[in-house]
């Protein structure tokens, strides 16, 4: 087994276990921390594919900022009642089974349908520098030329969300209420 293959299978195993932990843990804090672990291992998988910029951004944005906020908010709640309601009972169990089955079906479907696509892509020679500088430049150029419209629309969407959150927080109470 080569080093790359070993790294891939090891990271895949850790990703799988921590992703399983997200849904299996009863305590939401442990679920959130497992999700952090999943994000970090996915970033490591990006790094093994020489996509260092994506790996760094994944770490900064998801693991370093978004999940910190999740964990922070979860730590402030007292979730004993909700934990009971969501971990026991036939109704929540059946919903979970249903959703798990749906997700599994989606994943299997996506993998089996993308087989042809994958073969088509892997036939093309993938030229990528080992340092990841060239791919970062290419990514930036694509974002600001070919995909500029969708990129800017996404930015405006995020801005609208941020303004909406501030407006809601100011009108519904809190420390900075008018």
């Amino acid at each position: 087994m080569t080093t790359d293959a070993f790294l891939f299978w090891f990271l895949a195993l850790v990703t799988f276990i921590s992703a399983l932990g997200v849904v299996v843990f009863a305590n939401p804090i442990f679920s959130a921390l497992s999700l952090v672990m999943t994000m970090v291992t996915v970033a490591a998988l990006f790094a093994t594919l020489n996509a260092f910029f994506l790996a760094g951004v994944q770490l900064i944005v998801y693991a370093g900022a978004v999940m910190v906020l999740f964990v922070m908010v979860l730590m402030l709640f007292d979730l004993h009642k909700e934990k009971k309601a969501f971990t026991q009972g036939a109704f929540s169990g059946s919903v979970k089974l249903l959703l798990g089955g749906l997700l599994a079906g989606l994943i299997v479907g996506a993998v089996s349908m993308s087989k042809e696509l994958y073969k088509a892509i892997s036939d093309q020679a993938v030229t990528n520098s080992a340092t990841g500088i060239e791919s970062t430049k290419a990514l930036g150029q694509l974002l600001f030329t070919q995909y500029i419209f969708s990129f800017e629309v996404l930015g405006i969407l995020l801005l609208v969300i941020a303004i909406g959150v501030v407006a809601l927080a100011r009108s519904k109470g809190g420390t900075h209420v008018k």
């Binding site: 760094g56 770490l59 910190v68 730590m75 500088i133 970062t136």
Partner: protein, 385 residues
């Protein structure tokens, strides 16, 4: 990692050495901090154990190791033990990615009856093309150690301290990330090696067709990006949770913040983590704004050092080792001065109030960093005319 077993071995040993460098700097830094604070406040500080009190930290470490081991009754043992160990990881991993001198060239040599080499050994843990993004990403994981400690201790003061710390770190991460965009734009690179190489020699730039050279100043990023440098340094203080931004500890209202339930060596691990953040922040500041390992005198470039080493009669291997060691000395002196600056500020400025802290981060530093980025981009475009 390397092409054969010797190179892999050397690289592995190098990683361990860099980690040990970070950990071993901590006792000296704690001694400097205690003695320095004492002199700033007209006291003497620890001066009984060993010469100048230098062995005080050894005595403290022995004391820490023999403390009673306990877990708080309402704590979560897994997170409680995980947090101090995890506190060391981001600092050590990020510090390894920063180059500290020029590469070493090792000639062919014989070992166990076989010829090995030649090798080029980088004076850093590992080389990553987008090093700046990588270091920022890894350091942003440091929050989890604080959050795990705060929640795993099962203590209200710990939890409040952890929440304050993580809110503060997230807020200042934005200003930290934006403050270096100017440097990245100027150099057109995410790579520490390229950014440092661009800062060698005298201050020289081209502006609308005119070439300006200032022979007595080095070509450092701080002269191009003074606002960026100031914002970056301030954000570093906030990221490492040190005074004047140590609201997370706030002795007056929170006892000690997130590590209130920790005693003995576990608390020392948090200490090492905090100093590790100082070291990573300082070395990043040196690499981006203070010319990395280059000398402050524009006349002494690595080429000049290589020339002198050749004059002294060294071969290619000796020349590379001589140059790397002298440049590492330059990096080390800069690092020591910056770390002293961290300590000096801690014992000079009083602590902020929490709303002042948030206002500074969101309403002052973030707009200034944004303005700095936009103005830098415009000036770069104008100067290309």
């Amino acid at each position: 990692m390397g092409s054969d077993i010797v190179e892999i071995g050397i690289n592995g040993i190098k990683l361990v050495l860099i980690f040990l460098m970070m950990v071993q700097a901590v006792p000296i830094l704690v001694w400097v901090e205690r003695r320095g604070s004492a002199f700033i406040q007209n006291r003497l500080g620890p001066n009984r154990v060993g010469p100048l009190g230098l062995l005080q930290l050894l005595a403290d470490a022995v004391k820490f190791l023999t403390k009673e081991e306990f877990v708080p009754a309402k704590g979560v043992p897994f997170l409680y033990y995980m947090a101090p160990i995890f506190a060391l990881v981001p600092g050590a991993v990020a510090f390894s990615a920063i180059p500290m001198a020029t590469p070493l060239l090792i000639d062919r040599f014989e070992l166990f009856g076989q010829m090995w080499g030649p090798y080029t050994i980088l004076f850093q843990g590992y080389e990553i093309g987008v090093g700046v993004v990588f270091v920022l990403g890894i350091s942003s994981l440091a929050t989890y150690s604080i959050l795990m400690a705060g929640w795993g201790s099962g203590n209200k003061y710990s939890l409040l301290g952890a929440l304050r710390a993580s809110a503060q770190i997230i807020s200042y991460e934005l200003a930290l990330g934006l403050s270096i965009v100017g440097v990245l734009l100027l150099n057109g690179s995410f790579n520490f090696g390229e950014i440092i190489a661009a800062q060698q020699g005298p201050l020289a730039f081209t502006f609308i067709g005119h070439t300006v050279t200032v022979p007595f100043l080095p070509n450092w990023g701080v002269f191009y990006q003074p606002i960026g440098a100031l914002l970056f340094l301030t954000a570093c203080f906030a990221e490492s949770n040190r005074l004047p931004f140590d609201l997370a500890e706030g002795e007056a209202e929170l006892v000690a913040g997130f590590h209130v339930e920790y005693g003995g060596f576990k608390m020392l691990l948090f200490f090492i983590g905090e100093y590790g953040h100082m070291i990573v922040g300082s070395s990043m500041f040196i690499a981006l704004f203070l010319g990395g390992y280059h000398f402050p005198f524009p006349g002494i470039t690595p080429e000049v050092l290589r020339y002198y080493a050749t004059e002294l009669g060294y071969g290619p291997q000796g020349v590379s080792i001589f140059t790397a060691l002298i440049l590492f000395l330059s990096f080390f002196v800069k690092l020591a001065l910056l770390l002293w600056f961290f300590i000096w500020v801690r014992w000079t400025l009083p602590r902020f109030r929490y709303d002042q802290l948030m206002d500074l981060g969101w309403k002052t530093m973030l707009p200034w960093a944004l303005a700095n980025t936009i103005i830098t981009a415009i000036v770069i475009q104008i100067s290309k005319i």
